[in-house]
Point group: C2
Chain length 338, copies 2
Amino acid sequence: MAEKHQGRQTAALAHPPSVLSFANIGGRQEGRGPLSECFDQLSDDAYFGEKTWEKGEAAMQKAVVARALSRARLTPAEVDYILAGDLLNQCIGSSFALREFGIPFYGLYGACSTMGESLSLASLLIDGGFAQVCAAVTSSHFCTAERQYRMPVPYGSQRPPTAQWTATASGCVMVGRKGPGPYITHVTCGRIVDKGIKDANNMGAAMAPAACDTLCAFFRDTQTSPGEYDLILTGDLGALGHEIVTDLLKREGFDPGAQFSDCGLLLFDRQAQDMHAGASGCGCAAAVLTGYVLPGMRQGKWKKVLFAPTGALLSPTSSFQGESIPGICHALCLQSSV
Amino acid sequence: MAEKHQGRQTAALAHPPSVLSFANIGGRQEGRGPLSECFDQLSDDAYFGEKTWEKGEAAMQKAVVARALSRARLTPAEVDYILAGDLLNQCIGSSFALREFGIPFYGLYGACSTMGESLSLASLLIDGGFAQVCAAVTSSHFCTAERQYRMPVPYGSQRPPTAQWTATASGCVMVGRKGPGPYITHVTCGRIVDKGIKDANNMGAAMAPAACDTLCAFFRDTQTSPGEYDLILTGDLGALGHEIVTDLLKREGFDPGAQFSDCGLLLFDRQAQDMHAGASGCGCAAAVLTGYVLPGMRQGKWKKVLFAPTGALLSPTSSFQGESIPGICHALCLQSSV
């Protein structure tokens, strides 16, 4: 059971759940980027052996769940809940991937914040006494996202400099009541923040206020300051969003310092890979968490990490109807020991 | 904190959270049906005062949250979490409705099972000690669903007898640590079940196996039988799905009896309103729960209710790609006293 809330948005977990295992998979561009060594598996085939990109995205989720299960020496029957979602309409990446495992399933929609949302709810269900083991999983795919949100890929449409590139990647984390760490010590549930940005090619700017809102809530609730964290990662604001949130945080009195970065800035080499503002997609934060953050924490690189994936809660329909872009950000504090 | 799990899928809540308040809203067809008296508000205007159906759907969610808050004499700042989702691509019904309340938000995708999923997670967060008050909300809209899933409404396409009619409705339940009841005593998280049904005009048949799976898990886990419940409601299987799940349950040794019905059978008069197999949509189970079940329990009509909304986790894309329809069902046990 949780301690008394330290504040309005942050739950301090009384018995911090542990990461048991994790796994990821990436596509061609991910394999050409600076984090290529961080993937368990990279596929040059955008279909991942399937007949369509959507089925390929489901295949990615299936692969990472199977690998994370095997690494934790768990059978699906030993997992109490699986929490998952993705960017596809009606989240078919998750439902078609996970139907074979037979694990009780809560489907989520948090756009690119899904890795944060799924890991948060997994941790809360365990700390609340409802589960021994939970799985948190998400994915995104450049080709499924492009044709759904923007243009059919073969059109080769021109992208403005503020545009981000949807990662073709999936990640899964198994969380349990006891384990070797890292441990999830705090969970901050974000609020929807919409400052009126309408440019669907500038999601970083749309999501930055939500990231600021959640990070400030986290620092206030936990009475800590950015300097106490070895690494603070939003995801995936990209280059412009990262600048904006840095400014916004400073205005709120929180100078995030040099340990502040963004998953969207880490996954690709923006110049060499011509990635404009950086990476995006649920798979971006999932891959950076499972390929870079968690292994780095286990290797002793960082002891205390604040992981805060961001999501843009728009749809093509809402943009066509002239709506602005609501953003959200869910944050978790990870510690290598408790 | 929960007691030790009674089984693999069902959490028995140690301190059953209470319903604090509830509210709903419906459209024209809902106002012509047998439950017309069960709505707080009915609108002949399918736009609910907005310029598009999608914005109208968001307006419905906004209205029910505001009304449920006011009935419980709560401000948004007193609500710890809001859990919501809908059928629209990227769940824009929820994100655009809820952005103004500033309540920490976990977005869900459970298709027509969303009222069950949101109420389950709300109850678990409260019983786990993470919240005093949570809101569970969802909606659906005939016109937004038709144009997204099937055909533009003005085409007037012919519907087969197995087709269901998406409810234009929204419902919200405020749940708290203490209150007058009804109380949520058990929560069963469903598994994805896919028996290969591919006909998107026969969702009842596609979801029936999931409903059977979850109901059997509930009865096994709680060591109870259908006869111990005053009302058992799946939602929204419709006429054919209801027959199928009745058969499937009997085969598993659970005769659900005369108190077994389906939200999709209650909302409309199928003959007089020409509704074919019945109602569907997230709003159907939400409206039946908030307009019929909860008021009926408070009036002493039923003491022990098993509420088990069902969802079909397909998308038009998955159907175009030849995929079958995965189903899910989340169940809750509601009791008027504990």
